[in-house]
């Protein structure tokens, strides 16, 4: 039988071409163009398949398995048409096959898959395409080794202080003189890590914890700072001596650590050759400033409120004075919960002392606390408008740098707003956008020019990402409403409201079911608006969802954010609605602007969430005498949980409607990759 068998032909789609492509069309020079090894692959022209155009590649290439899917690629930076781009992409797998496996691993990561660190690093990554550094081989080898020693998974499991951790580890080999103080802090902030890690390093450090702690208590603030300074210099020196190319280690080791590695490594590389004691004080200070700036650029791991040390520190800096609520639910101790009603009067009384907060920002903060501004888009818009006002009124002495000063201003505003109410994802994205714009300002620009640029940027952001995006979403979503439909909506999403109103204007015949829930009863506002428009509505509470779902043909939901695994993070109750709809085979449409997408993952509603005022959930409608739990706080056995958001797994979502079209939840990372990179992070 074997003799009869012809050699099986295997084809490898090395050059992927979608749809049309011209033969004469110049192939886009990809930003991450490969050095010489790729040979003729990038010069492919004409033809449909690579097999005809790049025969040299198919020689000696690893046997091609049919399941091998060419990795997706990055958009070329030079703005060539999508078609041309698609035409010229080369699968990295086959191109690199002759190289050592180690090397291949190191290379493929940045080129092939979605690499969140690029976003985390923000501007720095954009300025220097990481893969351009890949031409010297020994260094990437080292990268791979490094990656093996500290696989991303391990490092990522220390959310709080992986920064310090990495530093300590890096210094570990050479700098034995590293002060015990850091060690102490490392060990302290990583409870239980030693067991999981099993590394000898931390255990050996553990022995020194005792004296370190006592020393820490004794030292004064100034002493501590000096110590820290010395320590930092020591670390950097050790690192510089030890491992040369730390920068790109970042791009190959686990994604979550990337930003941090880079962050740690870059500023220190300045005083690489100087030993610790020769570095002058001024240099160090500049260094620290840079470090600080950089730190603020990256989304910090959110503050865990069960981490006493950090909470204490945060409190000292805080502007808003708040009491922590008692009787908190054990599972949610890492989230902030305050006594409601205590902050507003305090903040009001402090109005004239908070001179570093711009009045408009202050006003927005107050609105957040009082709850008069709610809803993702409204909050984001208010915040941006406040920043706009602040930038308008901004002036600076000529010897200061506009960029740096403005960034620190914005940072202080943001931290103030966070104290008022935790930021939502879209606000985080907007802030990141603004900061990136500020960082991109040319240093020679005059103050008024810079202000003008920033103000028009903010206006553009509001217009493009919110107002126009909503219009596009409406036009997409309306197409999914047919005559005779029964639409179910939950709570009050402004986009969904606009969709319904627009469908009515188009003369579609449909009915609405508004599902509402305690304690906010946001659906009532929507109900009032829709009934006034003359739409036939049914109003019910979420308890009746399984009954009402029988009649429903479409479920329209809004979202606070959509995460890259397709999880929808939205008003609490959304998951319940989506799950019931799924059980009834009713399609669930999530309407969400693309600026609410985030590259983070979310698996449950516990890790990141917001706690609302617990009092509102025990208040029963219908008078004071109906309130048996009025003094619940005195009962130690009673804890109340008022979650504000929940996470809907992507399985229960049929479609996400964005301004870029209707996409399945599995395509959220594609949108993030293709659009955010170009538009949000310039």
């Amino acid at each position: 039988m074997d003799s009869r068998r012809l050699p099986r032909t295997a084809v490898d789609p090395k050059v992927r071409r979608v749809g049309f492509f011209t033969s004469g069309e110049p192939l886009p020079a990809r930003s991450q163009s490969f050095p010489a090894e790729t040979g003729g692959s990038t010069t492919a022209d004409g033809g449909m398949m690579s097999s005809t155009t790049t025969p040299d590649l198919s020689v000696g290439v690893i046997s091609f398995s049919p399941v091998m899917i060419p990795p997706p690629r990055y958009a070329s930076a030079d703005g060539l048409p999508a078609l041309g781009r698609a035409a010229a992409t080369v699968t990295t797998v086959s191109a690199y096959s002759p190289l050592s496996p180690l090397r291949r691993d190191a290379i493929q990561l940045p080129v092939g898959s979605f690499n969140p660190s690029e976003y985390m690093q923000g501007t720095s990554a954009m300025l220097s395409p990481s893969s351009s550094r890949f031409d010297d081989l020994d260094f990437s080898e080292e990268v791979a080794c490094y990656g093996k020693k500290w696989p991303g998974k391990e490092v990522a499991s220390f959310p709080g202080s992986s920064d310090e951790m990495m530093m300590a580890v890096r210094g570990g080999g050479n700098a034995l003189s590293m002060s015990a103080l850091t060690t102490a802090s490392v060990v302290k902030t990583l409870p239980g890590v030693t067991a999981k890690d099993g590394g000898t390093f931390i255990e050996s450090q553990n022995e020194r914890v005792g004296p370190a702690r006592s020393q820490k208590q004794k030292t004064t603030k100034a002493e501590r700072r000096a110590l820290q300074e010395a320590q930092r210099a020591a670390k950097s020196a050790a690192k510089a001596a030890g491992e040369g190319g730390k920068h790109s280690a970042a791009s190959s080791s686990g994604a979550p650590t990337n930003a941090k590695l880079d962050k740690g490594a870059r500023p220190h590389s300045q005083n690489k050759d100087g030993p610790e004691d020769t570095a002058t004080a001024s240099e160090k200070r500049a260094d620290r400033n840079l470090d600080k700036d950089r730190k603020k650029d990256f989304p910090h791991p959110s503050l865990q409120f069960d981490d006493k040390n950090r909470v204490e520190k945060a409190k000292r800096r805080a502007v808003v004075y708040q009491f922590e609520a008692r009787n908190r639910v054990e599972l949610f101790r890492h989230l902030p919960q305050y006594e409601y009603g205590s902050q507003l009067p305090y903040l009001e009384s402090k109005f004239f002392h908070l001179d570093h907060i711009h009045p408009s920002v202050y006003q927005v903060g107050m609105q957040y606390i009082s709850g008069s501004t709610s809803g993702g888009n409204a909050r984001c818009k208010e915040m941006l408008l406040a920043f706009r006002m602040a930038i308008m009124d901004y002036s600076i002495s000529p010897e200061k740098s506009v960029v740096r000063d403005l960034i620190s201003k914005i940072n202080s505003y943001v931290s103030f707003l966070i104290e008022c109410r935790p930021l939502s994802v879209n606000m985080g994205n907007a802030i990141r956008f603004l900061k990136n714009r500020i960082l991109k300002l040319h240093h020679n620009l005059s103050e008024s020019e810079a202000k003008y640029i920033l103000i028009s940027d903010i206006d553009r952001f509001i217009n493009e990402k919110i107002i126009v995006a909503d219009k596009v979403i409406i036009s997409h979503a309306v197409a999914k409403i047919r005559d005779g439909d029964v639409l179910l909506v939950y709570g009050h999403s402004t986009v969904v409201e606009m969709i319904i109103v627009h469908a009515l204007e188009l003369g579609k015949q449909f009915r609405i079911v508004i599902v509402d829930s305690r304690p906010k009863f946001e659906g009532r506002r929507l109900l009032r608006k829709l009934v006034m428009k003359g739409i036939s509505c049914t109003y019910t509470h979420i308890n009746a969802i399984s009954y009402i779902m029988h009649d429903v043909t479409r479920v329209f939901l809004g979202a606070s954010s959509v995460l890259s695994n397709g999880t929808v993070y939205a008003r609490v109750g959304t998951a319940c609605v989506a799950m019931v709809a799924h059980a009834f085979q009713v399609p669930v449409l999530i309407c969400c602007e693309a600026y609410k997408f985030h590259e983070r993952f979310l698996l449950d509603s516990i890790c990141s969430n917001e706690l609302g005022d617990p009092d509102v959930i025990i208040n029963v409608h219908g008078g004071k005498d109906l309130n048996p739990l009025a003094k619940w706080a005195d009962n130690e056995n009673l804890q109340l949980l008022n979650l504000v958001y929940d996470a809907t797994p992507s399985d229960y979502v049929s479609m996400i409607v964005t301004e870029h079209g209707m996409i399945p939840p599995t395509s959220v990372p594609v949108i993030i990759r293709e659009y955010e990179r170009d538009q949000l992070v310039f």
Binding site: L6, R17, M48, P66, K480, P664, I671
Partner: protein, 370 residues
């Protein structure tokens, strides 16, 4: 059965029958009783086919040039879609290319606007055809997105567009060959394959597998009311592949012995699901229940920016259904020719872009229509 009489320029307006379905019927030579009669009477039918192709260039060129003002993109499309080996998307693109040739626009912008209008009329002429609208979109995409066109002399750019359009038929054939090469690796010796509908791509895959001396067995569904299975099994039997014909309702019964389900697609939608001949959905459901892989072979020009939420979310493609006996009065007949299979029931898609999971389709579409 009057719609099967071939020369009928604009049938969708005359009957309730989808024009898309008509093209299919003509291309795949739906096995109806009159077809059988025809086939028996005239074996010459097959011999006539190759003659058509050489004529294409000549007639296509002269028709377009001669008609001038009276040029109708729809007539052109109708002309092309009669060609048996041309996919509908290709016909659409040919028609648009012919439109460019006859266009009197003097600037690129003008041409673009005219072309947009033509493609819109073409799309609205037959809203049931997915590959038609996908083909139009694709060509428009090419015209608007090719940056090289901006810098060229207008006439050169125009020529380039026409050339591109005319090459598309070739591209489509090449795509089919690529898919065959990718897909045949999934056919292993001793496997039993269930096939539904008449798909040129699937046939190509099986042909290649057979010519590579793979030993496999094919189960063909009958494919009521078109009886596409009859024709498909005939083709396979000629290749010497063991074939067994099933009635459509025997799918679950035979699924036990099936190793993989192999179907083509009329269109691949953004969710990664497919729109295909009626019955695909239920076969996919049965296969999913019994943990059998469902493979779809489809060219990338069938990728469409559509997102049906459920079966009724698509305009139905109405076709005639023959029951052999008169239907009792007052009884309705479901006459839709196709259904939508959601992505969770599909295992892999073989396309000319490679072997994709359903979720990658949206990735490709987003990049294509970015």
């Amino acid at each position: 059965m009057e719609p099967n009489n071939l020369p009928n320029p604009n049938p969708s307006t005359d009957h309730g029958i989808s024009a898309y379905y008509q093209t299919r019927a003509e291309h795949h030579a739906v096995v109806t009783s009159d077809w059988l009669a025809q086939a028996q009477a005239a074996v010459t039918r097959n011999a006539a086919v190759p003659e058509v192709l050489p004529k294409i260039a000549a007639t296509g060129g002269s028709r377009a040039a001669g008609s001038g003002k009276a040029f109708s993109v729809i007539d052109e499309f109708n002309y092309w879609r009669k060609k048996p080996d041309l996919a509908e998307a290709v016909a659409a693109i040919m028609a648009l290319a012919a439109f460019i040739r006859s266009s009197e626009a003097t600037t690129m912008m003008e041409l673009e606007i005219e072309l947009k209008k033509a493609s819109d009329t073409l799309k609205s002429w037959d809203t049931t055809s997915i590959s038609l609208s996908a083909g139009c979109d694709l060509f428009m995409r090419y015209v608007t997105r090719t940056s090289a066109l901006e810098y060229e002399d207008f006439n050169a750019a125009k020529l380039r567009l026409i050339e591109r359009g005319e090459k598309f038929g070739e591209i489509s054939l090449k795509a089919r060959r690529t898919i065959a090469m990718l897909g045949q690796d999934f056919v292993f010796d001793g496997s039993t394959i269930l096939v539904h509908g008449y798909s040129r791509v699937v046939l190509e895959v099986l042909k290649l597998a057979a010519s590579n001396r793979k030993m496999f067995r094919v189960l063909c569904t009958e494919g009521r009311p078109d009886r596409t299975g009859l024709r498909f099994s005939n083709e396979l039997a000629q290749l010497g592949v063991p074939v067994k014909l099933l009635i459509d309702s025997a799918v679950a019964y035979t699924m036990d012995e099936v190793d993989m389900v192999f179907v083509g697609a009329d269109g691949v939608v953004e969710s990664g699901g497919i729109i295909n001949m009626m019955g695909t959905y239920q076969i996919a459901l049965v296969a999913h229940c019994m943990n059998k892989p469902v493979y779809v072979a489809a060219e990338s020009y069938k990728f469409a920016r559509l997102y049906p939420l459920d079966q009724k979310d698509l305009a139905p493609a109405i076709r005639p259904i023959e029951f052999g006996v008169p239907i009792p009065s007052g009884v309705e007949v479901e006459r839709n020719a196709r259904d939508y299979t959601p992505p969770q029931y599909l295992t892999l898609l073989f396309t000319d872009l490679g072997v994709l999971t359903p979720s990658v389709v949206s990735d490709e579409l987003i990049q294509l229509y970015l």
